[in-house]
């Protein structure tokens, strides 16, 4: 049986993000058959929600004022334990989308709310929150392959690779993807990086963007299948970030995974990719 949640949204009425937070809350409650907590009523008569609050709690704020989070933190008994949370303004920004201006969400905005609701329900619990950089922290250890004067780095753990020299870094039900150090050196200084659209579905080994240098244009072949939930605008603006730091700052897109176990069977772990690069390095021509 799918997990049920209590959901505490903010009550923002005078900005677009307030109604969006409410919509996300309603979608989450409907999807998980959870309990909706009215922040105004809870603030006045908290006892009315004693039973509901036995469920794990999701808090949804519209903006940086974080009224719902503050309400949860200031509740009697040392505050409520929050399992997951979302702040709508940040979440829209991360998707490269605008919350809009109107107080009634349009169909496009509602579709994005649905996406965020689904993410909330499938996200890891608090500690590796949605979009958290900590979830994609620096790999512990790099192995290297040296060929002539060229040194190629490969993270030994936490990354999966395909034979197109693209990687996926896993965190819960999400993965970031990018190109390997071998590939960025083979291409040389990157001048363009095309990002995918947020919301698109990507199949395993589909193109999830592209990179261009003076030598070549190359598709970024996604090692995993899923839906694009975030992109990295920094690499579109400054593609050389991928040359400088292909495995961490040089991520291109973040996917909500669809079939990790199925995808994994066709991928290489760090050691196997290391062996592949050793083989390829002999043919490397800068």
């Amino acid at each position: 049986m799918a997990e049920r949640f209590a959901v505490l949204p903010c009550n923002g009425l005078d900005k677009a993000v307030g109604p969006l937070a409410r919509e996300i809350a309603l979608m989450v409650v409907e999807a998980c058959r959870g309990e909706l907590i009215c922040p105004v009523l809870y603030n006045n008569i908290p006892a009315l929600y004693a039973k509901a609050l036995k469920l794990p709690l999701i808090v949804i704020d519209g903006c940086g004022t974080r009224c719902a989070s503050k309400l949860a933190a200031e509740s009697a008994g040392g505050g409520l334990k929050v399992t997951r949370k979302l702040q709508a303004t940040d979440a829209f920004k991360e998707m490269g989308e605008s919350p809009g201006e109107g107080l009634t969400p349009d169909p496009e905005r509602l579709a994005l709310c649905r996406l965020l609701a689904e993410r909330l329900l499938s996200a890891p619990d608090e500690g590796t929150a949605l979009g958290s950089e900590a979830a994609f922290a620096e790999p512990v250890e790099y192995a290297t392959v040296t060929h002539d004067k060229f040194i190629f780095r490969i993270p030994r753990q936490a990354y999966l690779f395909n034979e197109n020299h693209c990687w996926a870094r896993l965190a819960g039900n999400r993965a970031r993807v990018g190109i390997s150090d071998y590939m960025q050196q083979e291409l040389g200084d990157l001048t363009f990086c095309e990002l995918p659209e947020v919301g698109v579905e990507i199949g395993q080994f589909d193109a999830v963007g592209s990179v261009e240098s003076v030598k070549a244009v190359s598709d970024i072949i996604s090692p995993v299948s899923g839906r694009v939930v975030a992109v990295n605008p920094a690499v579109a603006e400054t593609p050389e970030i991928i040359n400088e730091d292909p495995y961490v700052r040089g991520w291109v897109a973040e996917l909500e995974l669809r079939d990790l176990e199925g995808d994994r069977a066709l991928l290489l772990d760090g050691e196997a990719y290391l062996a592949l690069v050793r083989q390829k390095a002999a043919d490397y021509r800068p």
Partner: protein, 139 residues
């Protein structure tokens, strides 16, 4: 930025041999110092500067310098700075490609059509800066 009171503006490329950008930096320099502003600009061997050649070090410290680097490694900029040079402008060839998707510049040995076109644009930009530094007007 200070005018060129002590002599010609120095235009110093990285000349990286491994990439087409290095060749473009070199050729843009020659376009400026040989063709566009031969009376107002000179170039200088970067390797000589790094070696600590006295004349080269003195030149970068007493004349305004424009560095042209092929790639983000910034070999010319960093080495001129380390030598105590006054960098009036730092140009990166790779930036010139960002507005030119699909450009075909050639190779590290020989430039092709786009390579020369972009090189000449960079050279015009630098020549304008040379004129500014010498107190002249921009076109």
């Amino acid at each position: 930025m200070a005018e060129s009171a002590n002599g010609n503006v120095l235009v110093i490329p990285c000349s990286g041999i491994g990439k087409v950008h290095g060749l473009m930096a070199r050729e843009a320099t020659y376009r400026v110092v040989d063709d566009l502003e031969p009376e107002a600009s000179d170039t200088l061997c970067l390797a000589l500067l790094v070696k600590g050649d006295e004349e080269a070090v003195k030149a970068v410290r007493t004349r305004p310098c424009i560095t042209i680097d092929g790639c983000p490694k910034l070999c010319s900029y960093k080495n001129v700075q380390l030598a105590g040079g006054t960098i009036a402008e730092s140009v990166r060839v790779v930036d010139a490609f960002k507005g030119r998707k699909g450009a075909q510049p050639g190779t590290a040995t020989e430039l092709a059509g786009d390579g020369w076109t972009i090189t000449d644009e960079i050279a015009q930009q630098i020549a304008a800066r040379v004129r500014e530094l010498c107190g002249g007007k921009e076109r």
